[in-house]
Amino acid sequence: MAHLDLPQGTLDLLILRSLQTGPQHGWAISERVQQVSDDVLRIQQGSLYPALHRLERRGWIKAQWGVSDNNRRAKYYELTRSGRRQLEAETESWRKLTAAVAQVLERV
């Protein structure tokens, strides 16, 4: 299975999207993305956690310590209001970008 390198902006988008459904901890986010993308997109811990901290610093997600399903302490992240706005904006620009690229690939 070929692993694709994710550009940084896309990683943020994926994280925000996976948090749209509700709070999750870091491991769950990476598992989810992996599953949903049929194992194509694998987020490495080395990129995930710096990204999470960066997003937290920007105020798009906020963190809270909670208890996981196996009764262990885990840090749960959830979207903030500005995070939701950011997600919408980034999703929109992603769609526009991919549509434009697809057009170019088709027509040129």
Partner: protein, 884 residues
Amino acid sequence: MLNDLRYRLRALFRRGAVEAEMHEELRFHFEKEVEKLERRGIAPVEARRRARIAFGGSSQVAEDCREARGTSLVENTVQDLRYALRQLRANPGFATVMILTLGLAIGANSAIFSVVEGVLLRPLPYPQANRIMRVFVSTPTYPRFPLNPWDFHDLRDRNRSFTGMAAFTRSDMQLSGGTGRPEMLNGFEITAGFFNVLGLHPEMGHEFDRSNEVPNSAREVILSDHLWRTQFAADPSIVGRKITLNAMPFTVVGVMPAGTEHPGNEYHPVAYGQHVDVWTPFWFEGKPSERGSHYIEVFGRLKDGVTVAQASADLNAIVQEVGREMGQNPGWRALVVPLQQEIVGASRPMLLMLLGAVLMVLLIACANAANLLLARAATRRREMAVRLALGAQRGRLVRQLLTESLLIAVTGGALGLALAAGGVQAIVALLPSDFPRAGDIHVNAWVFLFTLVVATGAGIVFGTVPALQASRTDPRQGLHEGGRTLTSGRHQARLRSALVVTEVTLACALLIGAGLMLRSLLKQMQLNPGFREDHVLTAKLSLPNADYKNGEPVVQFYQQLLGDLRALPGVEAAGAGSDLPWTGWDENRSFDVQGKQPKPGTFFHARYHVATPDYFRALGTPLLAGRFFTVADNHGAPAVILINEAMAKTVWGNENAVGKRITFDDHPKESDWLTVVGVVGNVKDKPSSPEAEPGFWWPQAQAAYHDMAVVVRFNGDPGAMIAALEREVRRLNPGLAVANVRQMDQIVAASVATPRMEFILVGLFGGLAIVLAGIGIYGVVAYAVSQRTAEFGVRMALGAQRWDVLRLVLAQVAGVVLGGTALGLLLAVALGQTLKSLIYGVSPADPVTLASAAGLVVAAALAACVAPARRATGVDPMVALRSE
């Protein structure tokens, strides 16, 4: 934005908690990964292994997380500082030397800057002080002359350039009638609106107006805050109260706030540490047509938009106009000079010279610091190589090394600031008593800022090159066991030599400067002053007009007093004069000479003084021809004068001046001629004057001056003499203040205060410089010797003598020392041209001084080489060969 800041602050200040959280989070992720693998059926140990591989370097992840937190700049700096502190503590000797040398250099800079700031940079304590101008009249002979009161009056009324003009003249007053002894107060007579022109206002009462300028108008006085508090116990109802000055009642009309400074009074200045205590009104006495005597100092505040040149032209026009009206053409021009320049102008060259000298010391200290750091870098090569090999970025390394330098520099700066606080006090104590604005010199916020900037700048200057050098270490070679790389070593050695040459150059130049100052001082101190210095007591007396209404009682008083003093045991001679040598007396006037015409366009003029018969005997000024005054030269007897040698030569050349006559009248009667009865020895105005000014003396019995300086030549205990003098004065008139009681050697010492201070300071700087340069030379030689130890061992094994090895060691340093000394000589000669005004009696390129300084530098260099040379010649050839 706020969130960002809050996040970063939390990451910074609750670092421990944040780090712990991060580790816990990562560990949780790891455990979940292991769980996932176990659920797939992999064995726990294998699962952990695979998870760990997949996880990658946890420290790298942690590092990236830290970066993402956005606090890396601060965290790294804190880390750098901690590391730098550890390094310093591990090398206390190195740290001590660095911090001490930098502390001394920076401290000296801060101290001198305090003086420069207080005297030259800080604006005068008046609102918009740059608009206040001093006004003089000038001719080629008298470039800055005071004004005649009526001339000032006309200027004040007719000018269009000033919002206000005012004038003042020194007029000390005796305060009596209090509980204590009568006291002589520093005072000035001032014209209307004096304080208003300066921008000051009384804290109580009001100041004088034009009605006060009318002669014999109400006697009013304005007090200083200091006087009000000390003599009148801060009486809240002081305004309107009468106090006794000069035996007459004066009404207090106002009190000036504390710290009211006088706007520059270069003639009869108020000494540092003293206050102006009283201001009385200036009366415009005499006829407006009599414009002969010039004695008031004038200043004014320029109107907005008027330039100095315009004001000059305006006043000049008025002076010419007045001249035409009076039917005279005195040839005066008006001179307008900014007040600040007038006050501090004379001291500016010296202060700038001191600043330049002390900056040189700082440069030497920085060069030394850089040298030491470069030397240390050689020993830290391994550490740098390891860090680079482990993946540290060059930039990070440079930053860390720079942090070390800055830490050292700032610590040195703190030490320097502490030293400067004490140093400033010492410098102020050395200043001559009439140094302008001495009271304004403090270590203040500006000095603190200056120190910070200088320390930081120094740290960057001496830290950058060694830091860059160290970070360029090739990891491969650094880790190599032998650790000696030829190419980079040579480059470094050349750099260090260049630094040491600079140090030697600057140190040599400073030593030459100190030498010139010393010779200048000695020349001035060795001068035959023309009078005796030791065991000559002086005091000032002022007889109030109210008690001594005309000449008779004045003459009688002084005759009585001097007679009483002469009768005391231990008194060899007692006299009185209008002034004392070297105290700034400057009264002069012109006269006509019987049988001689002055050169066309000039007139005969000389200083004039007054003296009693024994004045010169008491002072020890010799009689060169004729006789001194006697009791026969009294009121009613023919008018006589004594002249000094300078006047005899100037007016009568080689002729015998005794018996010649002068007059002040245009059409003199017989009684208007003054006959020269004797010639006395010369006394200069001050030690650094090129030559004595012509001068003549009137007998006190004929001139009847109220204010005189009493001069007593005595033997025995000065304290007893002072007490006796005060007792005799009190016996004759208990209401008189005995002021300025000093011995002549104190006056003499005070007169050389400036060159003495210059020598002490430049000498200190030179001493510090040569010590620092010595340390630099030592470093270079020690390093060179350590590099060549093996070579020396081989040479000695092959039969070389200790002397041969010694010669090699000295050759190492000869180039640096000789080159530096030569450059230093050139530098000093070049600078000497600009500093000619600061030295006296010796040429800036004086060969004795140059040779001595060069000799001192070479001696210091040799001293610095002793230890390394001993080490070089003490090498055991077997040991050296074995270590190779």
